[in-house]
Amino acid sequence: MKLIIAVIKPFKLEEVREALTAIGVQGLMVSEVKGYGRQAGHTEIYRGAEYVVNFVPKVKLELVVPDNQVAKIMETLTNTARTGKIGDGKIFVLDVEQAVRVRTGEAGEEAL
């Protein structure tokens, strides 16, 4: 099992969700986050005051999936979240030791 963490542009969320559902992903977690990478921040102007906003709003997706789906999901994520402009985000993949479905007590890939 793998944990896929994807940080993407907020307005891409719906498109990504649809694409993932289409390839059989059955669940994911979403949170609104702020951060910066190479894109760095942007400037906002309020009357005379200019502020550099260092932390840019992003959406973070977390999915725990069976090993055999990882490649397909990575490909789908990359293709749908991409705009080609700086700030499209990053994807990380981590090993997952165990998963349990609370209602039934099923464990491992059965629980996903």
Binding site: E44, I45, Y46, R47, G48, A49, Y51, V52, V53
Partner: protein, 481 residues
């Protein structure tokens, strides 16, 4: 607020005028109904209008502090107003009458529901209670305007003390000096007495005393229809002094301090615009053609100013911003305030646009150059806009420019005439009024801020300021999400 009579009218002209017969005072139900509504519109400008306009511009941790300050100032000023404020502003001050009224109407002594107050037409009156309430809302909004200059970094106790002192020693005297007069019928009676006096020096002196028993700035011939000097310059310069005395916010210029809700600010600005019809049109005290003039001016000056800021910011900064546009609208409202019943609509529209551009320059360039932390641009919008409006009133009142003309109650007692316009006289009266107000409020505010600092301490501790005034000073938060 007041129509200024041409006080220097030649005595010769008076001698030739027909004798003035005092008309029986009447209270018109239409005027009264209009003034009742105008009064609550002005209250709506302050709460929630001004409170939301300011509140949206601060960080969310200080939202409630601004709302609390504005609401508290309104309530406290109401109490002070009926206790001694109205009397100090709108009663005869005896030997001090040039500067301040007396205490003869303290606790509203002698006023009941039959009492009447003068308007700007001979023989036309409104119930004094309405006049007291209408003027009360002006006294309430003026100190509330000041808090924007040092928002997010003032101790509540200190601010309340300052505002109570400020209305007493700065607002009431200035309002008295600009707006206190005997009314049209007193001037008519004085002019008639002067004409009848012949060469009798005692009678001439008595008649002159009656004509000139007004506030100092009124007697200079300065025009201020709805409070350019009394409200906006007065509060604007106090704000500048306050932000200099209190100092910058922690992190000013280093940390981002963006407005937490421009939605609130837009709602607030819109309520200000709507309420401002009560402020400007209501300042005519009657419901007539001049009231309509003040209304159309309050529309077009504001629109002209909003458009001007929108485009100049788009041009110079690259983007047309909502905050810029609504700030421009407020600048236009401020500028048209003293001119609203004197200028013509086209003059008012140009005035709004010019004031907007100058205020833009002050808020975006001058403030950054000098580095003062006028958090919500009280000086840049209210003082600067107020000065432009006050000076322009002396120009736009000219009938040749579409203005209503300088009112003259003296040359034909009992009627309202238009006095001949002389630029140097009209303009210099405005300049004197502006400089006097800047000086009086600037010095007075400085002393009162220092006094408040001495007694209570103006600034909260750095920890409190960092945590936000809402939780630290008021024990509550604006948004529990």
């Amino acid at each position: 607020m007041r129509y200024l009579s041409k006080l220097a009218a030649p005595v010769a002209a008076l001698a030739a005028s027909p004798a003035f017969a005092q008309a029986a005072p009447t209270v018109d139900k239409g005027d009264t109904a209009f003034m009742l509504i105008a009064t609550v519109l002005v209250l709506m400008m302050t709460i929630p209008g001004l409170a939301l306009f300011y509140g949206g511009l601060v960080r969310s941790k200080n939202m409630l502090s601004v709302l609390t300050q504005v609401f508290a100032i309104v309530s406290i000023t109401c109490v002070i107003w009926v206790t001694y404020g109205y009397s100090l502003t709108f009663s005869d001050g005896g030997s001090m009458n040039s500067y301040i009224g007396g205490l003869s109407k303290a606790f509203l002594r002698g006023v009941d529901y039959n009492s009447i107050a003068a308007t700007f037409s001979n023989g036309v009156y409104i119930p004094e209670y309405v006049y007291i309430c209408f003027q009360m809302t002006f006294a309430c909004i003026t100190p509330a305007l000041i808090v924007g200059a040092f928002a997010e970094r003032v101790k509540f106790s200190s601010l309340i003390f300052f505002c109570a002192m400020w209305v007493t020693f700065v607002y009431f005297p200035i309002a008295h000096m600009v707006w206190w007069w005997g009314g049209p019928d007193t001037l008519a009676a004085g002019a008639t007495a002067l004409a009848a006096a012949g060469t009798d020096q005692v009678a001439i002196d008595a008649a002159n005393a009656m004509i000139f028993a007004n506030g100092k700035i009124f007697n200079w011939g300065a025009l201020d229809f709805a409070g350019g000097t009394v409200v906006h310059i007065n509060a604007g310069i106090a704000g500048l002094v306050g932000c200099l005395v209190i100092g910058k916010r922690i992190g000013h210029g280093k940390e981002a301090m963006p407005p937490h809700s421009l939605v609130m600010t837009m709602i607030g600005a819109s309520l200000l615009w709507v309420g401002w019809f009560g402020f400007n049109a209501g300042s005519n005290l009657e419901s007539n053609g001049i009231t309509a003039l003040a209304m159309i001016n309050t529309f077009v000056a504001t629109a002209g100013a909003a458009v001007a800021w929108l485009f100049i910011e788009w041009l110079l900064k690259g983007k047309p911003s909502l905050l810029g546009m609504v700030t421009g609208a407020v600048a236009g409202l401020v500028a048209v305030t003293p001119a609203s019943g004197f200028a013509g609509p086209m003059g008012a529209m140009v005035l709004g646009a010019v004031a907007s551009v100058v205020c833009f320059f002050f808020c975006s360039t001058v403030k950054n150059r000098f580095g003062y932390d006028d958090s919500l641009d009280v000086f840049g919008v209210h003082c600067v806009g107020g000065i432009i409006g006050a000076l322009a009133t002396g120009i736009l009142v000219n009938t040749a420019l579409g203005g209503a003309g300088i009112p003259d109650y003296l040359s034909q007692p009992g009627t309202l005439q238009v006095a001949p316009y002389v630029f140097s006289v009209a303009f210099m009266a405005q300049v004197k009024a502006v400089l006097f107000t800047l000086l009086w409020s600037g010095v007075g505010s400085f002393i009162l801020f220092k006094l408040a600092d001495l007694i209570f301490g103006l600034r909260p501790t750095p920890d409190v300021e960092r945590e936000g005034l809402d939780l630290a000073e008021h024990g509550e938060r604006a948004y529990a999400l």
